[in-house]
Amino acid sequence: MANFTPVSAAIGGVLIGLSAVLLMLSTGRIAGISGIFSGLLNLRGEDKGWRIAFIAGLILAPILAGLIGYGMAQPTLPSSWAVIVAAGLLVGFGTRLGGGCTSGHGICGIGRLSLRSIVATIVFMVMAVMTVAITRHVL
């Protein structure tokens, strides 16, 4: 567990929880990123403003952090474009079918003590662990 960073993880987690609660208290919306983003992908014009504002904030965060000297490193991704595309398609299709992702089910749904979200979180965690086990230790 040489990579374990409990203090920064706890601080970051508190901020994520705070963001979800503030979004609910202020606009009445669930801070599920897959849901917020997918609501921008249709042609109907309604209720896009808050979605654009939230995602703009999300993208602005590392840019502002960079201005004060805490910029984010380039993310490390697999070298295979096919894997990146396949993963993106699975994440997009799966989060829509399952009605949420790590934030929507994992933080907001479990935060509301929803059984649906608890089950969804267990399922995607187990599948992700199995996928990593296979790609890193079997293949």
Partner: protein, 152 residues
């Protein structure tokens, strides 16, 4: 100026992913790799987030309406069904392949990394494909109901 509220919430969310390191796929994969050099950080992130969100949502439940909106938009579905489990399963496979879920993927657009841009485009395509598929199923269902109504 209500639009400032979701903007600030996005900034705080992004800061949380950034500070916790969860914006980095390698950090997330370190958590998912329980058979390797396991890094439990993501579990701490979730526990800390829930320690805030559980009492916070209870507080929201007690107020009649949000500060800047007429009503709360709460998810209507309850109960466990096949789409929930299948969707979460597919998402889990995609998450495990690269270590990216929607929040960190969108936030990482700030780096202009070509891999991230391709991932987000594929994610959007997956979402659009799902919604188009659902739409065609609904249309087919409606057509069948109309046909049986005419028959009867």
């Amino acid at each position: 100026m209500w639009i400032i509220a979701p903007l600030i919430c996005g900034l705080i969310f992004g800061a949380g992913l950034l500070i916790s390191g969860m914006v980095q796929p390698t950090k997330v994969l370190g958590f998912l790799d329980i058979f390797g050099a396991w890094d439990p950080s993501l579990a701490v992130v979730m526990a800390a987030a829930l320690a805030v969100s559980i009492p916070g949502f209870m507080l929201a439940d007690r107020s009649a309406r949000p500060w800047f909106a007429g009503q709360y938009f709460r998810p209507g579905k309850s109960g466990i069904d096949l789409p929930l489990v299948a969707g979460a399963g597919l998402f889990g496979i995609g998450w495990g392949l690269v270590g990216l879920c929607p929040g960190p993927a969108l936030e990482s657009l700030a780096t202009l990394s070509p891999g991230i841009i391709v991932f987000v485009a594929a994610m959007a395509a997956g979402m659009i494909a799902h919604d188009a598929w659902q739409q065609s199923r609904l249309t087919a269902q409606r057509d069948r109901q109309l046909a049986s109504a005419t028959d009867g």
